[in-house]
């Protein structure tokens, strides 16, 4: 397998995982959360006990594999250090752009695994908690999910512009 084909496969897997992750992030924020108040109370367990746990499984593993393949891609392309330094050493806009995308992505993945998922486990009753603890956990998970939605806008701009505007491979 040539190096070019290896790069392509890793980029393909990065995009595939990223669509899974960000697709579910936007499902939560654009569909599920705004429509929960419209669902009758007796039907809410269908979302809380079935749909949300399944969606959260693919959501958090999508995040993990997106980061894994993204870091592999940056390493294979030879710009991982320059990108993490936001192009301040190389003075290249392409490194700055992909660097911003990588940092936003890393912050978002951290939020998924270490803030959103632990709080969702409490909110959905996967781990024990009082009614007050569940409400507080649901609120915290929602706010950090919204933070990720906010960051997904510049993150995707940075990722796409690094290739399309700055011609970074």
């Amino acid at each position: 397998m040539t190096h070019e084909y290896g790069l392509f496969i890793v980029r393909y897997l990065h995009v595939l995982s990223g669509v899974m992750w960000i697709g579910l992030l936007w499902y939560f924020n654009f569909v599920q959360i705004p429509n929960m108040p419209k669902i009758p109370d007796e039907q809410k367990p269908a979302i809380g006990k079935v749909i949300a746990p399944a969606a959260l499984f693919w959501f958090r593993w999508g995040a993990a594999f997106t980061v894994l393949f993204g870091l592999m891609l940056a390493w294979m392309n030879g710009y991982i250090v320059e990108a993490m330094a936001l192009g301040l050493e190389s003075k290249l806009a392409g490194h700055a752009s992909i660097g911003f995308g990588m940092w936003f992505g890393l912050i978002m993945a951290f939020n998924v695994w270490f803030i959103i998922w632990p709080n969702q486990k409490v909110a959905l009753g996967i781990v024990d908690g009082t009614a007050e603890e569940k409400a507080a956990a649901a609120r915290k998970a929602m706010l950090f999910s919204r933070t990720n939605t906010m960051l997904s806008i510049p993150m995707l701009y940075a990722m796409v512009s690094a290739q399309s505007l700055y011609h970074l491979s």
């Binding site: 924020n29 654009f30 705004p34 936001l86 192009g87 301040l88 003075k91 290249l92 806009a93 392409g94 700055a96 752009s97 911003f100 706010l143 919204r146 933070t147 939605t149 906010m150 960051l151 997904s152 806008i153 510049p154 701009y157 940075a158 512009s161 505007l165 700055y166 011609h167 970074l168």
Partner: protein
């Protein structure tokens, strides 16, 4: 901040504002227009 994040339209607006700020910073680091990016000027390569 939680007030912004509680509203989906406000969240999206904040995301766009961050994007604009990021573009300005990237442009300042790169020191050039996005259309030129990191691609070397062919004329400068011919003169080397």
């Amino acid at each position: 901040m939680s007030k912004i994040l509680s509203s989906l339209p406000m969240t999206i607006t904040a995301g766009i504002v961050i994007t604009i700020c990021m573009v300005l910073i990237v442009d300042a680091i790169g020191g050039g227009s996005p259309s030129m990016g990191d691609v070397p000027n062919p004329a400068s390569l011919m003169n080397k």
